[in-house]
Amino acid sequence: MSGEAPTRAAPGSWRSRLQAIRQGGRQMFGIPDFDRYLAHMRDRHPGAAVLSEREFHAMAIDRRYGAARPRCC
C-alpha cells in the first residue's frame, strides 16, 4: 500500500467533506493524516522513499509521546 497516490475526492462533494471531518478529528487527537503526508511527499519530495501507513502511524505516535512532552495539571 505504500507509495500509491491517495485518492482525492472532488472538492465540495460529500466525500471530501467527510474526509475533512475525519482528518480534523484525528488531528485534534494528535494523529497526523496519512493521505496528507502522501500528498506532501508527492508535491515536495517526488521520487523519495515513502513510509507505509503502518510505519507512518507508528512513527507519529512515537514522535508525539516519546519525547519529553510535559502534561498539564
Binding site: 480534523g24 485534534m28 515536495r44 502511524h57 512513527m59 509521546y65 512532552r69 510535559p70 498539564c72 495539571c73
Partner: protein
Amino acid sequence: MNKLTSMLVWAFVALLGAAAFGSLALGRGESVNSVWLVTAALCVYFIAYRFYGRFIADKVLKLDDSRPTPAIRHADGMDYVPTNRWVLYGHHFAAIAGAGPLVGPVLAAQMGYLPGTLWILAGVVVAGAVQDFIVLFISVRRDGKSLGQMIKMELGPLAGSLALVGVLAIMIIILAVLALVVVKALTQSPWGVFTIAATIPIALLMGVYMRVLRPGKIAEASAIGVILLLLSLYFGRAVADDPAWGPLFTMTGPQLAWALIIYGAVAASLPVWLMLAPRDYLSTFLKIGTVVALAIGIYVVAPPLAMPRTTLFIDGSGPVFAGKLFPFLFITIACGAVSGFHSLISSGTTPKMVEKESHTRFIGFGGMLAESFVAVIALTAACVLDPGVYFAMNAPAAVIGTTAANAAQVISQWGFTITPEMINQTAVDIGEKSVLSRAGGAPTLAVGMAQILAQAVGGKALEAFWYHFAILFEALFILTAVDAGTRAGRFMIQDMLGNAYKPLGNTEYLPANVLATALCVSAWGYFLYQGVVDPLGGINTLWQLFGVGNQMLAGIALLLCTSVLVKMKRERYVWVTLVPTAWLLITTLTAGVQKIFSSDPKIGFLALAQKFSAAAADGRVLAPAKSIAEMQRVVFNNYLDAAVCSLFVLLVVAMCAFALKICMQALRQAQPTAIEIPPHAQVHGVAT
C-alpha cells in the same frame, strides 16, 4: 457583520453579563441559581475575547499573516502541519485541560462561591489567557521553540537552566498531588478501584488494535474502548458487592500509594503506543464529553447554589486549607485562572501546527477561556452541594473525626447544619461506604456532578453510576498525566545527569533510563506516600506547594513575555504582561514566604517543624502523630517542604533579576532586539 448589529449584540452580551453578576453579588439572603454564575462567566469570556484579545492581537503583538509560520516553513506532513484553526483549538484545549481546573476551585469553595468565581474570571482575562496567547505567539515567531529554549535565547543560558530546574521541581510536586487525588478518591472504594484497574487492560487492547490490527484507526479503537469502559463501570458494582471479589479491590491509602508508584514506574517504561497513547485518546474523549454534558446539565437542571456567597473561612481558619483569602485563594485556584504549565503546551506541539499568526488569538487566548470555563463548572458543581456535605468530604479527619456523628456535630458548629443521617445517605446514594475526608476535589466534584446529572438523566437510581463515572473520568486522565509526566521527568533528569556524566544522558541507554525513571518515581512517590499517611490530609500541604510552583512558572513565562515585548520595542504596551506578572509575583511571593516563615504552625512549614521538634525533644507526642518516630517524620517533611518552597521563591527572584537586566539593555537600544525568524524567511523544503 453590520456595525449596528454588532454593537447591539455586544451591548446585549454586556447587559446580560451585568445582570448575571448582579444576581450573584447582590441577591439578598435567598439562594442564587447556578445558571447565573455560568452565564456571567460566558459573558465575560465573549467580551474579553472580542475586545481585549483583539486589542492584544492588533495593537500589542501586531500579528502579521504575511509571515510564514513554522507549520508552513517546515511542513513535513507529520509534526509541522498547517492546521484548521478549529481543529487546532480542540487539540490545544485537550492538551491544556487536566485535573488542575477541577481540583483548585473545589478546594477554594470553602471560602464561598464568590471569591473563587471572581478570581477565575479576573485571572483568566488579565493573566491566564494573556500568558497562553503571548507564549504561543512568541513560540510561533521562533520556529516553535520550547519555553526553556526561548528563555535561553532571550534571557541567557543561566536563566534557561534555572527555569528547567524549576519545571522539574513543579513536575515532581504535581505528579505527587495528582496521584494523591486518585488515592483519596479510591480509598476503600472497590467499585472505583475495579473500574480504574480495568482501564489498564482496555488501554493495552486498544494499543495493540491500533498498532497491529488496524493502524491509525483511532475512532474504531476508541469506540471499543469506551464500550468496554462502560461495561466495567456497570459490572464494577457487582464486583464490589461480591463477597469474594469485593475485598480484593478494597484498598487502603498506603496500598493504593504503592500501587500507583509501581504503576508509574512500569507504565513509563512501556512503549508509548501500548498504553500511553490509547489511554490519552480515551481520556480526551471522556474529558470533552463530560465537560459538555455537565455544562448542559447545569442549564437543564438549573440547581441553586447551596454554598453561601462567602463563608467565615475567608479569615484563614478554614478546614480544607489554612490561610487567608489573600494570598492563598490565588495559589489554590491555579489552573482555571492562570497556569504556568500551559506555557509548556503553548510552546510544545501547538505552535508547530499554527497556519497563520492571526489564529493564535483564537487558539491561545480562546483555548484558555475554555479551560477557565471548566474551572467555573467545577466550582459550580461543588457549590450546589449541601455545604455540610462539602465540608464532611473535604475537612481532614484530624478536624472532623472519623464518624458521621462526630463530623456532623463539628460541621454544624461552624453554622452549616447537617445530620449524621444526611452524611450517611450521601454515601449510600453514590454507592460508597463513607464520604468523610475525601479531600482532593475529585470526589466532591463527582458527587456534585452525580447529583446534577442524575436529576437530568436517570434520577436517584443512576446517581451511584454517575458518581463512579465522574471518578473514572478524573482518574483516567490523572493516570495519563502520571505516565506522561514520569516520562517527561525522566528525560529532564537524563538531560541533567548527562551534563555530569555523558552516558547517563543517552536516552537509548537502558541502565541510564532505569536510573532516571527510578529517580523520578521515587521523588514524586516520596511526596505521595507522605501525603497519604499525613493525618492532616496531605492535600492541604501538597496542593499549596503545587500552587506556588505553578503560579511561579506562570510568573516566569510572563517575565519572558514582558522581556520580549520590550525587546520588540513595544514598551508602550508592556503593562499587558507587566500587570499580571506583578500580581503573580506579589501573591506567590507572599504565599511562599508565609508558607516558609509564618509563625502559625498551621501555615508555616518551619513553625510546624519547630513545634514538633521541640515537643519530641521533651519526649511529648503531639496529635495527630502517634509516636516519636512519626513526630520526627513530620519534622523532616516540613523542613523538606520549606526547602522546596524556598527553591521556588529563589528561582522566581532570580528570573526577575535576569528579566530586569535584559529589559534595561533593550530599552537603551533604538532598534528591536528580539530574536525572531525574519519576516520573509525562506520556506524550507520547496527547493529540494
